[in-house]
């Protein structure tokens, strides 16, 4: 006989029995029935709780587990967890049922949350103690000094007086809080800790190490992390895994540092030292001294590999470290004493002693390393690569140019800009040279732009940049127009971005000598900002401040931005204070905007430290300062995906009264999330459908900068309707963004590429299209094939760090809305997608890698041959007419000649003869052309067939080669018989190669930087075809 209970009331009634045994019995029954009768039991949950709280009751844990289960069913997980903790052994972690799993995940969440709060508090306490100790020491040593420092500190305070008071208040309350918590710091329930630990043990047993590691990192349990790494069979893999996730996902700065310090310790105990990772961590920890020691040791070591590793580290460092850091590092590296040349004695050519030879070698290597760290090597290599592999399709630009009205200065300057983007870093300025006459019509700010575009083309051409710009630079004696002078100064900055030791003095000089010409000032300020980015030099700062205080709108805006660039990421309180004050004094919107963008740059990467400033700016009644606040969030939290900041941005994006602020907020979202481009379309999908034009524009821009070069499907889907938006500005933004997203993609990978290119063309050639949209189309066309199709836009370095210059470049680029010349700043974010292999002498040997994908998948987009043909046909049609006209004219001329020469000849006869001959010639020409075309088409078809039939599954690429973002995963190094990379994970960027056959002679890749001249020669117009001369 089996029975189905319909109610648990009988058992519940047993709970009221006076006897404990009966209650226990009832509880046990209830425990087995709770999943069915929780609703009924919940009515008398009070009784059960009372039993749990009754200290004399023997089965308290049983009561706890029943209560926990009831609360779990009721959905009160907090209470449920509380009782489960009280249940002790009865809450069995190893159970796999839903109740246990839910509670475990809940307990993890709670635990992680509490750990985070507690560790943060502990950290604050620690900091406070340190400060106190410092103060004590100081007060013991010298009271006066302390006062001075205090006053200095006060000066350094970011906020104005009132606000600093407020801040002090805040600090006080915070301190009070800490004091309170000191006495009663919320300890984590030891029972909770027990549960967590037992779950960890279970993970270990089941070998779920990665999961355990993730939880340990989140819960800030460094001891567990260490334990896991020591426990695993393959610690190297786990170390790398731990390194990547802790760098990617840990948001708290100091905690990340702590984890990395721990990892460093582990790394150093490994039998084989992994220098590359160690240096990576040291870079993050900002430990210049140890880094320099390691590098020095590596160079001193005899093995070849160690030297190569040092170089590789050097390249990585240059890519990831700030200018300031590199500078310090170079200073710390020993300066070897040069070896005296051996003195010739008695006519015998002395040789270096072996000791000296060693020293010489050491010096050579050290110099090499220093030049790598200075970045010159990298820039040079990239320049060579871009120049060598330049695949710019000028035809595309030419056809756009033909469709633009040359009377329209905006669009012509856009064409020049697009050309600058297309040829960025390739040093190829054929187009400009070919169109000198057309350029001559450009005036005013368009002239400024076109001169500046030279800087873009020669970007990174540190040696020759100055020469190229020579004719345009201010000569002091009036010379050319201020626009081209200003533009050339700006160009100089672009060429020497981030490497301005040599040009900054010149730029400063130019700034002083310009007799307050605001255009030259503008160019010079931007140039200085670019060339001395993040240098933080106070002298330069004062110079720029002087320009700002002149209260000239044009120059002031540039000065504001330049001050920001100069102080980039320093968080310099004085600078912020002064700029903030001036923003309130001036009446020029342009200046306020420049200054507020500048302020945002100063707070780059400051994360929480910028919070006070952000709060202050975003509550300002001046909308432009609020606009700056949005960019401050973008800069301070760039790439962190910080939730709080994101919430704030989303809030502003839908609530601010000013369109500019809303737009800035949406764009800023892109800056926060660029490390997770897949998330962005989801986040922005609603905003992209907003009723507000500015918000839609912002969404398009944010998609562009985050998904650049990814051809993200979702992003393209969002952008497509925006390119047909009703509002012309939104269309502009969407076209630019689409260009960015589709960078470096060919038709085979993404069929939309050809579509969008056609769209660009159509928009430009459409008479009725708004010029703003046309502008977007031209820029989009420039971006999609930018840098000779060898660069992509990315805000992170190849190793996944924030690329400061790129982030800043894009931030200022997004100001192009107000000031078009700022468009050039996007070039800061251009990242050559190159694989460059180097040997020990930093030369490029002949070296091959294998790409395990069909060649056509990652091929350069096919140049516009087809379109060219169509045009040719049209041209021929036009030509035949013009030819005839020409002929006629020629005939007339000839007639005259003939008349003159052979006055006795009958003119009519000659005419007829001529006509016949001409006709023949024309026919012949036409027929041959047609044949040629046909042949070409045939060839093409054949090629296509061939491709389809015999496309190999892999491709051998020669050093240096372009490797697009998507291609990276297909690259293997197993084909080259001779060279092996030092760092195995490196599949792009600059890779040091280990020569396995050092005795053989090396074949080097020819380096030809001065191809500009060669190309010019090639491009020179062909000599006219031979023609027959009719003398009679």
């Amino acid at each position: 006989m089996s029975v189905v209970l319909s109610t648990a009331s009988g058992i519940i009634a047993l709970l009221d029995e006076p006897d404990n045994d009966l209650k226990t019995y009832a509880l046990r029954k209830l425990d087995s029935l709770v999943d069915q009768f929780w609703a009924e039991i919940s009515d008398s949950i009070g009784k059960i709780e009372a039993l749990y709280e009754d200290e004399e009751f023997p089965s308290r844990t049983l009561a706890a587990i029943v209560a926990s289960k009831v609360y779990y069913h009721l959905g009160f997980l907090d209470d449920s967890l509380l009782f489960a903790l009280g249940a002790g052994q009865l809450f069995d972690v190893s159970q796999r049922d839903e109740f246990t799993r839910t509670l475990i995940s809940k307990s993890f969440n709670d635990y992680i949350e509490k750990r985070n709060v507690i560790t943060e508090e502990e950290h604050l306490l620690k900091l406070k103690k340190q400060e106190e100790e410092k103060n004590k020491k100081q007060s013991i040593f010298n009271d006066e000094e302390e006062e001075e420092e205090d006053s200095e500190l006060e000066n350094m305070l970011i906020d104005s007086d009132e606000d600093s008071e407020q801040d002090e208040g805040l600090y006080e309350t915070k301190n009070e809080k800490i004091m309170l918590e000191k006495t009663e710091i919320e300890e984590i329930d030891p029972r909770l800790e027990k549960i967590i630990n037992s779950v960890f043990r279970r993970c270990f047993l089941e070998k779920e190490f990665k999961e355990a590691l993730g939880i340990a990192i989140e819960a800030r349990r460094i001891d567990i992390i260490k334990e896991i790494i020591e426990m695993v069979e393959n610690p190297d893999e786990m170390l790398t895994y731990c390194l990547t996730i802790s760098r990617k996902y840990i948001q708290s700065r100091w905690y990340r540092q702590e984890v990395l310090t721990m990892l460093l310790e582990v790394y150093e105990t490994r039998p084989e030292l992994d220098y590359i990772n160690i240096c990576d961590i040291l870079l993050f920890l900002n430990d210049v001294e140890r880094l320099s020691e390691i590098l020095n040791d590596l160079i001193l070591e005899k093995t070849k590999e160690s030297h190569l590793i040092a170089c590789q580290i050097g390249f990585d460092l240059y890519e990831n470290a700030s200018q300031h850091f590199l500078h310090e590092l170079t200073l710390l590296l020993p300066d070897p004493i040069p070896v005296n040349k051996p003195v010739e004695k008695d006519g015998i050519v002395a040789e270096y002693s072996p000791m000296e030879q060693k020293r010489l070698e050491y010096i050579k290597k050290m110099d090499q390393l220093k030049s790598i760290l200075s970045g010159r090597t990298t820039i040079n290599l990239h320049l060579q690569f871009l120049n060598r592999n330049n695949k710019t399709d000028l035809q595309n630009l030419i056809r756009l140019k033909e469709k633009t009205d040359s009377r329209h200065s905006l669009l012509t300057s856009m064409i020049v800009m697009a050309h600058g983007l297309l040829n960025c870093g390739t040093t190829s300025d054929v187009f400009l040279r070919d169109n000198l006459g057309w350029l001559a019509n450009i005036s005013n700010w368009s002239k400024f732009c076109s001169t500046a575009s030279l800087g873009l083309i020669h970007k990174g051409h540190l040696d020759k940049g100055f020469d190229v710009l020579e004719p345009y630079l201010p000569q002091g004696s009036g010379g050319s127009s201020p626009y081209s002078e200003g533009g050339s100064l700006y160009a100089l900055g672009l060429i020497n971005t981030n490497h301005g030791e040599e040009v900054t003095p010149f730029l400063l000089e130019a700034l002083k000598n310009c007799q307050r010409n605001n255009i030259i000032q503008h160019g010079a300020c931007l140039g200085i900002g670019l060339s001395s980015m993040a240098v933080g030099d106070m002298q330069i700062y004062e110079e720029l401040r002087g320009v700002l205080y002149n209260d000239d709108a044009v120059a002031g805006e540039a000065a504001g931005i330049a001050m920001g660039l100069l102080m980039l990421g320093t968080g310099n309180g004085k600078a912020i204070q002064e700029m903030w004050n001036y923003a309130h004094q001036t009446e020029h919107e342009k200046i306020i905007r420049g200054v507020s963008v500048g302020i945002s740059l100063i707070m780059y990467g400051k994360e929480q430290e910028a919070e006070g400033l952000i709060e202050q700016l975003s509550s300002d009644k001046d909308s432009i300062l609020r606009y700056g606040a949005m960019f401050t969030i973008a800069m301070a939290y760039a790439g962190t995906s910080n939730e709080k900041a994101l919430k704030k941005l989303l809030h502003v994006a839908v609530s601010d009264v000013n369109d500019d602020v809303r737009r800035a907020a949406v764009i800023a979202i892109g800056f926060l999330l660029f490390k997770e481009p897949k998330q962005v379309p989801k986040t922005l999908s609603l905003l992209a459908k907003s009723y507000n034009n500015s918000v839609r524009f912002g969404a398009a821009m944010a998609l562009g900068i985050t998904c650049a070069g990814t051809a993200n499907k979702d992003a393209l889907e969002l952008l497509e309707p925006l390119t047909k938006d009703l509002n012309n500005i939104v269309r502009q933004g969407a076209l630019i963004a689409t260009g960015m997203v589709l960078m470096q993609f060919n038709e085979k990978q993404e069929p939309k590429v050809s579509k969008i290119k056609d769209q660009f063309y159509e928009i430009v050639s459409d008479k009725y299209e708004h010029k703003m949209t046309k502008m977007g189309a031209i820029l989009g066309a420039g971006l999609i094939d930018a840098g000779g199709r060898n660069v992509t836009i990315s805000m992170q370095t190849t190793t996944g760090e924030n690329d400061m210059a790129a982030i800043v470049g894009l931030a200022i680029f997004s100001q192009y809305w107000f000031w078009h010349p700022l468009t050039y700043f996007i070039s800061l974010a251009f990242q050559p997608t190159a694989l460059i292999g180097l040997n020990k002498d930093l030369n490029m040997p002949k070296f091959v890698v294998k790409s395990n994908a069909k060649p056509s998948v990652f091929a350069y987009p096919s140049p516009l041959v087809e379109v060219k043909k169509v045009e040719k046909k049209v041209e021929t049609a036009v030509l035949s007419v013009t030819k005839k006209e020409q002929r006629r004219q020629e005939e007339k001329a000839e007639k005259k000649k003939l008349e003159k020469d052979n006055s006795e000849m009958d003119s009519e006869e000659v005419d007829e003869k001529k006509k016949e001959e001409n006709k023949k010639i024309i026919e012949e020409e036409e027929s041959t052309e047609n044949e040629k075309e046909k042949e070409k088409e045939k060839e093409k078809e054949e090629e296509k067939e061939k491709e389809e039939e015999k496309e190999p599954k892999e491709e051998i690429l020669e050093n240096p080669t372009r490797i697009t973002l998507d291609q990276r995963k297909y690259i293997t190094f197993d084909v080259d018989p001779r060279y092996k990379p030092v760092k195995e994970s490196a599949k792009f960027g600059i890779v040091m190669l280990l020569d396995t056959k050092p005795d053989e002679t090396e074949e080097l890749v020819e380096i030809s930087l001065d191809t500009t001249e060669k190309k010019e020669e090639e491009k020179e117009p062909e000599p006219p075809e031979p023609f027959e001369y009719f003398s009679d």
Binding site: M1, S2, V4, L5, T7, I11, L14, D21, L22
Partner: protein
């Protein structure tokens, strides 16, 4: 089954069937029995293994006795608990054993208990659980009648019907029922009259004698003057409906709504 258990149950039965059962002894015995049954596994056995009908009958009988005991001892809390303990043996476990003679008696008492406390909702839920045919059973029918009269407000009818309860055990509940009816009436008279004749009051309150009425007046602080009962504790602060305020607010809402639309 354990002999000990049988012995205990017999002793318990003996104790309960006394006219004036000993409260302490009975309760002690009952607890002992329950523990013994729990140890034996026959008190609310799990449903996953086959059950022995004998055991079920045994447990049910013990629990029924416990209910009767609680009535005899007039311990209402115990009564309620015991009823809910025995009920599964009627509805869940009891589906395949012979019905107990006492089932309807106990369920009927439970119904009356609920009525006496004016817990009408629960009364009806319980009633639904009882088979329809059983409604003609005097134990149940009695309750149905009482409920109907109560609903009608026919307190006099209840008075008469209560003179013949179907079982002696019912008398406990009947008297409780009367008390609660009295309370109901008192509540009403208090508000409907300013003063009452003692004699009328006696009739109205369904009391046996005028003395009783006087006592009642004392507990409620009513004055008795010239054989007349004055209800003086008329609550003046009786909450009036705040007409003006409500009207104002509603008009306000209407205006706001109009603005929004």
């Amino acid at each position: 089954m354990d002999e000990q258990l049988f012995k205990l149950s017999k002793e318990f039965k003996f104790q309960v069937e006394q006219k004036q059962p000993d409260s302490i002894a009975c309760k002690k015995l009952l607890t002992k029995l329950k523990i013994a049954m729990a140890e034996e596994g026959i008190l609310f056995p799990g449903t996953d293994f086959p059950l022995d009908p004998k055991n079920i009958v045994f447990t049910r009988d013990v629990l029924e006795l416990a209910v009767i005991m609680s009535v005899k001892l007039e311990d209402m809390d115990l009564f309620e608990r015991q009823v809910s303990q025995v009920k599964p043996y009627y509805f869940d476990y009891g589906t395949e054993i012979k019905k107990s003679e006492n089932e309807l008696l106990i369920l009927g008492m439970n119904l009356l208990y609920l009525l006496s406390l004016n817990r009408i909702g629960e009364f009806h839920t319980e009633l639904e659980l009882i088979e329809f045919e059983s409604r003609s059973n005097p134990f149940i029918k009695f309750n149905l009648q009482v409920e109907e009269l109560l609903l009608d407000g026919n307190y006099l009818g209840i008075q008469t019907i209560c003179e013949n309860p179907p079982s002696d055990l019912y008398s406990v509940f009947v008297s409780r029922l009367k008390l609660s009816i009295q309370e109901l009436i008192l509540d009403c008279t208090n508000k409907s009259y300013k003063s009452l004749d003692l004699k009328t009051a006696k009739d109205l309150f369904m009391m046996e004698s005028i003395e009783e009425v006087k006592e009642m007046a004392k507990t409620n602080n009513w004055r008795i003057v010239d054989n007349k009962l004055f209800f003086e504790n008329l609550d003046e602060d009786e909450e009036k409906i705040p007409t003006n305020k409500v009207i104002r607010e509603i008009i306000g809402y209407a205006k706001e709504l109009e603005k929004i639309i």
